[in-house]
């Protein structure tokens, strides 16, 4: 199992996971500072680091939408590129709060996944191929990935609804095509990964059961 002596396979992966863990923690602290600052003052210069992006469908007959996009001035400002990709920056606290919750909960899920994978590597380094503790770690990681997709999906849908309600293009309510949103934003890959990890945990559980049976067979 270990090609170059004890820990030769698990150690580099563990180091990568530990570095990732530290980097994510630092990133979360920076994000926390950004969100806290903008919640106190949504017009703080730090708002240039905060953006919510979306795409919109242009109403028929509109060829240059960049000067025709209007957003409720109490919620956010908006920039438009030629492909009608909208970049919002906050004016209201609500516009900061919802994406902040989305972003922080998403990263918290990622943190949970990385922390559990790291713990699983530590357990594998201890020697047994199917330690029971790992099954729990991997199962938690799988459900965290699925939770992350659910949060991502819910908040994304919520933000779309909010932007639909506050944005107009050439005087008409902005169209955010659902089909296109699902095609681009639907976290199919994340959901599939989460399910794969949950199934992997069940396979490991079967392995651990077999290992127990084998150990107690005389």
């Amino acid at each position: 199992m270990r090609l170059f002596g004890p820990g030769s396979i698990s150690t580099p992966a563990r180091v990568i996971l530990e570095v990732l863990l530290v980097l994510i923690c630092l990133y979360l602290v920076l994000e926390g500072v950004l969100f806290a600052t903008l919640l106190v003052d949504p017009l703080h210069p730090m708002r240039k680091y905060f953006q919510v992006t979306a795409f919109a469908a242009v109403p028929p007959g509109v060829w240059q939408p960049d000067n025709l996009v209007r957003v409720d001035p109490r919620s956010a400002t908006v920039q438009v590129d030629p492909w009608v990709y909208l970049t919002y920056r906050p004016v209201s606290r609500l516009f900061v709060l919802v994406p902040a919750i989305a972003n922080l909960s998403g990263w918290a899920c990622v943190l949970l996944v990385i922390a559990n994978l790291r713990r699983a590597f530590v357990n594998i380094s201890a020697g047994t191929p199917f330690p029971r503790a790992n099954i729990r770690c991997i199962r938690i990681a799988g459900w965290a990935i699925l939770g992350f997709s659910a949060v991502e999906l819910l908040i994304s849908a919520g933000m779309f609804a909010y932007m639909r309600a506050t944005t107009t293009i050439a005087g008409q309510p902005a169209g955010f095509p659902l089909g296109l949103w699902l095609a681009i934003d639907f976290p199919l890959g994340t959901i599939a990964s989460g399910l794969a990890v949950v199934v992997l945990a069940e396979i490991l559980k079967a392995g651990a059961d077999l290992q127990d049976d084998q150990a107690l067979t005389v």
């Binding site: 127990d212 049976d213 107690l216 067979t217 005389v218």
Partner: protein, 75 residues
Amino acid sequence: MAIVVNLDLLLVKRKMKLTELAGRVDITLANMSVLKQNKARAIRFSTLDALCRELGCQPGDLLEYQPGPPPADGV
């Protein structure tokens, strides 16, 4: 477990130590201990064969069924 291994009883009858039996049937003392303490989940036919040969008994003398509540893990 409803199956009980009467190894200790047979050892007393044969005036044999567990270590001696382990050496004769070529099974580790740890595994013999698992068997004696009724912690084993399964027993190989080869092990049963060796035990019966060395103890001069039948499998039925070694194993006994005692009805009881089913084990928690459903095994």
